[in-house]
C-alpha cells in the first residue's frame, strides 16, 4: 500500500495488474485469432474471401448486420415512451416503473429467452389465449423466425437505451420547454426542435451499445430464430464445433470485433471524447426540472400511453415464468393446472442441476474477487495518469465490455484447450474476470470521481502512512462503488452462456450452459422452475444493489 503515499506516477502502478491481465487474456488471444484468420492453407486472405463468396457466410453476415440494425432501431423507438413516462411521473411510480425496466435488465438473458419461448411457442401462452378467444384459428408462428429474434433481442437489449434516455429526460430543463412554449412552439415543434435534440445524444449512446451487443448475439437467435436468422456468432460456433475450421471462424470473429471497435470509436468521438461508459448510471437524485407538467398536450398523452404496452412487454416474461413452473403438465400448457412443486423437487434430485449450480458458484468465486481486485486497483491507479495516456488506458479497460463475447470465448478456447483448463473452473473463471473487471473498474471509478483527493493530503499531514490512508480514507470512499461493481460482476458471471459453451465440458458446465442445453433440446417445466428461482435470486440481488446505490448518494 506504499504506493498510496507515492506521488502520481507511482500511484499509476496500480493499473498494471489489470493491464497485464487484459494483455494476457484479452489482447493476445484476440490478436492470435486475427493471425489465425490469415493462416488459411489456401492463402492469407482466403478465409475473408470465403466470407464473401460462400452464400451461407455472406447471408449470415448480412443477417447479422440487418438484425442488429433492426433491433437497434426497435430499441430506440420503444425506449422513448418508457423513458418519458418514467421521467414524468412522481418519484414512487417512477421507482416502480424503474423496477419494471431493471428487473428484466438484471435477469439472466437465458431465463428471459426461456420465458419468451414458453409465451410464444406454437401452443404457448399467447397462442392459447388467442385461440380460446376465437381471434385466430391456427396458431401464429411467433418464434423460430425473424419476429422471434427481434422480440427476444429487443427485450434483452432495450434497457441499455431506456436507462440513459431516462437520465436525459430527467436532466431536461423544464424552463427550456416553458420558454419554447412562450415563444409559440406547438407541441410537435417542442418535440422536434427541443426534446429530440436534447435527448438524442443519450439515445445514440444507448443505441451504439445495443448494436455492438447485438452483433455478437448467440443465445436468442439460436433459440428463437430460424435458419434464415443465423447470425455471425452461430456461424463461428458451427465452424469450430462441426468443421474445426479455425481460419473461417477467426475471420468471422475479426469482422465483428472490428465493426464493434469502429462503432465504439465513432460513438466515442461523437460523444465528445466521453467514453460510453464514462457517465454514471442514471441517478435518482433530485433534479431541477422534470418534464412533469400540469398541462399536457395530446402528444404527451400519446407518448405516455404507448409506454404501457411496452412496460407489459418488459415484465410479462418475468411474471409468467413462476406460475408456469407450478403446472403439472410436462408440456408447459396454459393455464397451469394441478399446481405442484414436482419440478422443484426434480431440480434437487437430478444431480446435474446441483452440480451445475456448484460449478457456477465456483466460477463466480474466482471471477468476482479477481475482477473486484483488478478493477478496483486499476480505478485507483488511473488517477496517477494524465492526458492522452489516461484516455487510452481508460479505453483499454472498458474494451472487453464492447467486444463480442463469442470472439473472446473463441480466443480463450484456443489458448486454454491445450492447457487442459476446460475441465476445471479456472478457464471460465479467467474469462469471466476479463468480462467483469471492466464493470468493477467503471463502478469504482465513478465512486472515486466524487472522492476529494485533498483527503489523502489531510491524512498525510496528520501523520498517516499508506496503509492507514488506504484502509481508513480511501476504502470507505470506494466501498459503495466496489460493492455495486462486485454485484454486477457476480450477475455477469452467473448469467454468462457463450464462454461457458466453449470453456467448460460436461463435468464443469455451469447453470446457464445446462439451461441452454435443456432449452435447445426441448423446453421443459424443470427449466421453468430453475428460471423462477433465478428470477427470485435476481430480485434479491437487485434490492441489495438499490440499497447500496441509495446509501451512496
Amino acid at each position: 500500500m506504499k504506493w498510496l503515499s507515492l506521488p502520481r506516477p507511482g500511484r499509476s502502478l496500480a493499473i498494471l495488474p489489470m493491464a497485464m491481465f487484459l494483455v494476457l487474456f484479452f489482447i493476445l488471444p484476440l490478436l492470435r485469432l486475427c493471425l489465425l484468420s490469415l493462416s488459411d492453407p489456401a492463402g492469407p486472405f482466403a478465409a475473408y474471401l470465403r466470407l464473401i463468396s460462400v452464400p451461407a457466410y455472406r447471408s449470415g453476415l448480412l443477417a447479422t448486420f440487418g438484425i442488429a440494425g433492426m433491433v437497434t432501431v426497435l430499441s430506440v423507438v420503444v425506449s422513448y415512451p418508457v423513458a418519458y413516462l418514467m421521467a414524468s411521473v412522481g418519484p414512487r411510480l417512477a421507482a416502480l416503473l424503474g423496477l419494471c425496466v431493471l428487473l428484466p435488465f438484471w435477469t439472466s438473458s437465458l431465463v428471459r429467452t426461456t420465458a419468451w419461448i414458453i409465451l410464444l411457442q406454437r401452443y404457448g401462452v399467447i397462442n392459447t389465449l388467442l385461440l380460446e378467444a376465437g381471434l385466430i384459428r391456427t396458431p401464429i408462428a411467433f418464434i423460430y423466425n425473424l419476429s422471434g429474434v427481434l422480440i427476444g433481442m429487443t427485450h434483452v437489449l432495450m434497457p441499455f437505451v431506456v436507462l440513459p434516455l431516462y437520465g436525459a429526460f430527467r436532466g431536461l430543463d423544464r424552463g427550456l420547454l416553458d420558454a419554447a412554449e412562450s415563444l409559440g412552439a406547438t407541441p410537435f415543434t417542442l418535440y422536434r426542435r427541443i426534446i429530440l435534440p436534447l435527448t438524442a445524444r443519450s439515445a445514440f449512446a444507448g443505441a451504439a451499445i445495443v448494436f455492438m451487443s447485438a452483433l455478437g448475439y448467440y443465445v436468442t437467435p439460436a433459440l428463437m430464430g430460424g435458419a434464415r436468422e443465423t447470425m455471425a456468432a452461430q456461424l463461428i460456433a458451427f465452424n469450430i464445433e462441426d468443421q474445426l475450421d479455425w481460419p473461417t471462424a477467426s475471420a468471422l470473429s475479426t469482422v465483428i470485433i472490428v465493426v464493434s471497435l469502429v462503432i465504439f470509436a465513432a460513438a466515442h468521438i461523437l460523444g465528445g471524447g466521453k467514453s460510453l461508459f464514462g457517465g454514471s448510471a442514471p441517478s435518482t437524485r433530485g433534479v431541477s426540472g422534470t418534464t412533469s407538467s400540469p398541462r399536457r398536450s395530446a402528444l404527451d398523452w400519446a407518448l405516455a400511453t404507448s409506454a404501457v404496452p411496452i412496460l407489459v412487454f418488459l415484465v410479462m416474461p418475468i411474471l409468467i415464468i413462476a406460475p408456469m413452473s407450478l403446472g403439472s403438465s410436462p408440456f408447459l400448457s396454459f393455464p397451469p393446472r394441478d399446481l405442484t412443486l414436482h419440478w422443484y423437487r426434480l431440480i434437487v434430485t437430478q444431480s446435474q442441476w446441483v452440480y451445475a449450480l456448484w460449478n457456477s458458484l465456483a466460477v463466480a468465486a474466482i471471477a468476482v474477487p479477481g475482477a473486484s481486485l483488478l478493477g478496483t486497483f486499476a480505478a485507483i491507479g488511473l488517477d496517477g495518469l494524465r492526458g492522452r495516456l489516461r484516455a487510452m488506458t481508460e479505453i483499454l479497460m472498458v474494451t472487453p465490455i464492447i467486444t463480442p463475447a463469442i470472439a473472446l470465448a473463441l480466443g480463450l478456447y484456443y489458448e486454454f484447450a491445450p492447457l487442459r483448463l476446460l475441465s476445471g473452473h479456472w478457464g471460465l473463471g479467467i474469462g469471466h474476470i476479463v468480462l467483469a473487471a471492466p464493470l468493477v473498474f467503471v463502478s469504482v471509478r465513478t465512486s472515486l470521481s466524487r472522492f476529494d483527493p485533498t483527503l489523502i493530503q489531510a491524512a498525510q499531514a496528520l501523520g498517516a502512512g499508506g496503509l492507514r490512508i488506504g484502509a481508513q480514507v480511501l476504502l470507505p470512499a470506494i466501498t459503495p462503488g466496489l460493492a455495486a461493481g462486485a454485484i454486477f460482476a457476480f450477475i455477469t458471471s452467473f448469467d454468462e452462456v457463450i464462454m461457458s459453451l466453449f470453456l467448460t465440458n460436461v463435468r464443469s458446465r455451469t447453470l446457464p450452459r445446462l439451461i441452454y442445453e435443456n432449452v435447445s433440446e426441448d423446453i421443459n417445466p424443470t427449466v421453468a422452475a430453475v428460471s423462477t428461482l433465478i428470477v427470485f435470486a435476481t430480485l434479491l440481488i437487485l434490492l441489495m444493489h438499490v440499497t447500496i446505490v441509495r446509501r451512496r448518494s
Binding site: Q457, A461, G463
Partner: protein, 337 residues
C-alpha cells in the same frame, strides 16, 4: 474559547525559506522565494490567484518538492522528510474532513497515527472540542454541520496534534462574511493561546490586514514586499503593492514616483499649509457610509480622494472645482516605476 486550558507555552517553530524554486513543466511557478518567519508569528501570503501561494504551502507541507532551495522548520532541514513526519497542521480550503468519520473521530485521527493511548486521545479530543466551541457535536458527521462548524473541526483536527506549524490555505474563502469575521477572531485567539506559528494564505486583502503580524505580498511567483500590515499599507514599496492593498494614487514629482493613499489627501480648506497643492474638477462622488470618495481630475490625471463624512459638511456636486493637497511625508517614494 477558554484561554486558561493551556499555558502560553510557545509551540511554534521558526520557518526559513532560501531561494525556493519550483516549475511545472515550462512554467516557473516559484522564482526564488526567500523568507524568514520567527516562531509564533502569524504570517499571511497575499496575492492574486495563480501567484504561487498554494504551491509554496504545498512545499512547506511536503506535498511537493522544490526544484531547488532550502526549507528549514525549527532550524531542521526538511529535505527528504516525508509529509507525515513533519508535524505540521494543515487546514484546507474545502476542509477535507473525512466523510466517513464523525467529528470526534476526525479530530482523533492524527492522535491515532501517533499511537497515543486511548485515555489521552479522549482527553485531548474533548479539550479541543471545548476550545473550538464544538461541545456536543462530537458524534455528528461532517455532512450534518454548517460550513463554519466544519471549518472549526478542520482547525481542531489540525491543532490537536500540537503541530510545529499551522498551514492554512484560504480557510475562510467559502464562508459568509459574518461567519468569516467571527472565525478570524477565533483563529487569532487560538494563535495567541498556543503561541503557534501560522502561515496563512488568502487573496482577501482585508483578511490579511486584520489577522497578520506579517504580510508577504506575492506576484507571479516572487515576493513583492514583506512587512507588518501597517507598514505595507502606509509605505507600499511598489505600484503593485499600493494597488493590491486598498486604493492608491501615483504621481511623478522631481523625477521620482510617489504613492499617496486617498485618505492622506485633504480637500478644500483642510489643505492649508500642506506641501503639495493641486486643483481639479470633481468627476464622480461615491458615498461609502463613514466616508465619501471623490474622483478628481487634475489636468489629464485622476486622483482618488476619500474624506471622512462630517454631518455639517457642505454637499459638493459633480463638476465643481476642488482644491486637494497632501504632505510630502505622507507620500511614499517608490523604488522604481
Amino acid at each position: 474559547m477558554t484561554a486558561s486550558t493551556r499555558s502560553q507555552s510557545a509551540l511554534g517553530q521558526s520557518v526559513e525559506l532560501e531561494n525556493i524554486r519550483k516549475s511545472y513543466g515550462q512554467t516557473e511557478v516559484l522564482k526564488g522565494i526567500s523568507l524568514h518567519v520567527a516562531p509564533g508569528r502569524f504570517c499571511t501570503f497575499l496575492g492574486a490567484s495563480g501567484s504561487g501561494k498554494s504551491t509554496l504551502l504545498k512545499i512547506l507541507a511536503g506535498f511537493e518538492k522544490p526544484d531547488s532551495g532550502l526549507l528549514k522548520i525549527g532550524g531542521r532541514d526538511m529535505a527528504g522528510v516525508p509529509v507525515r513526519k513533519r508535524n505540521i497542521g494543515m487546514v484546507f480550503q474545502n476542509y477535507a474532513l473525512f466523510p466517513n468519520m464523525n467529528v470526534a473521530q476526525n479530530i482523533a485521527f492524527g492522535l491515532k497515527t501517533r499511537k497515543l493511548d486511548k485515555a489521552e486521545i479522549h482527553r485531548r479530543v474533548n479539550e479541543m472540542l471545548e476550545m473550538t466551541g464544538l461541545q456536543g457535536l462530537g458524534t455528528r458527521l461532517p455532512t450534518e454541520l454548517s460550513g463554519g462548524q466544519q471549518q472549526r473541526v478542520a482547525l481542531a483536527r489540525a491543532l490537536v496534534i500540537r503541530p510545529d506549524l499551522l498551514l492554512m490555505d484560504e480557510p475562510l474563502g467559502a464562508l459568509d462574511r459574518a461567519i468569516r469575521q467571527s472565525l478570524q477572531g477565533q483563529i487569532k485567539d487560538i494563535q495567541r493561546v498556543f503561541g503557534i506559528t501560522i502561515l496563512f494564505v488568502t487573496h482577501d486583502q482585508e483578511e490579511a490586514l486584520h489577522l497578520s503580524d506579517e504580510i508577504v505580498v506575492m506576484k507571479n511567483g516572487t515576493i513583492e514586499q514583506v512587512g507588518p500590515p501597517r507598514t505595507l499599507y502606509t509605505r507600499p514599496a511598489s505600484r503593485f503593492v499600493g494597488n493590491f492593498l486598498g486604493e492608491c494614487n501615483f504621481l511623478h514629482l522631481d523625477g521620482h514616483d510617489y504613492a499617496v493613499r486617498p485618505e492622506a489627501i485633504a480637500t478644500g480648506a483642510d489643505t492649508e499649509g500642506l506641501d503639495i497643492h493641486l486643483e481639479g474638477e470633481i468627476r464622480q462622488i461615491t458615498f461609502l457610509g463613514p466616508s465619501q470618495r471623490f474622483s478628481v481630475s487634475v489636468g489629464d490625471r485622476n486622483f482618488t480622494v476619500t474624506r471622512p463624512l462630517r454631518p455639517n459638511d457642505e454637499e459638493l456636486a459633480v463638476g465643481t472645482r476642488l482644491r486637494i493637497g497632501f504632505r510630502l511625508a505622507d507620500a511614499t517614494r517608490l523604488a522604481s516605476g
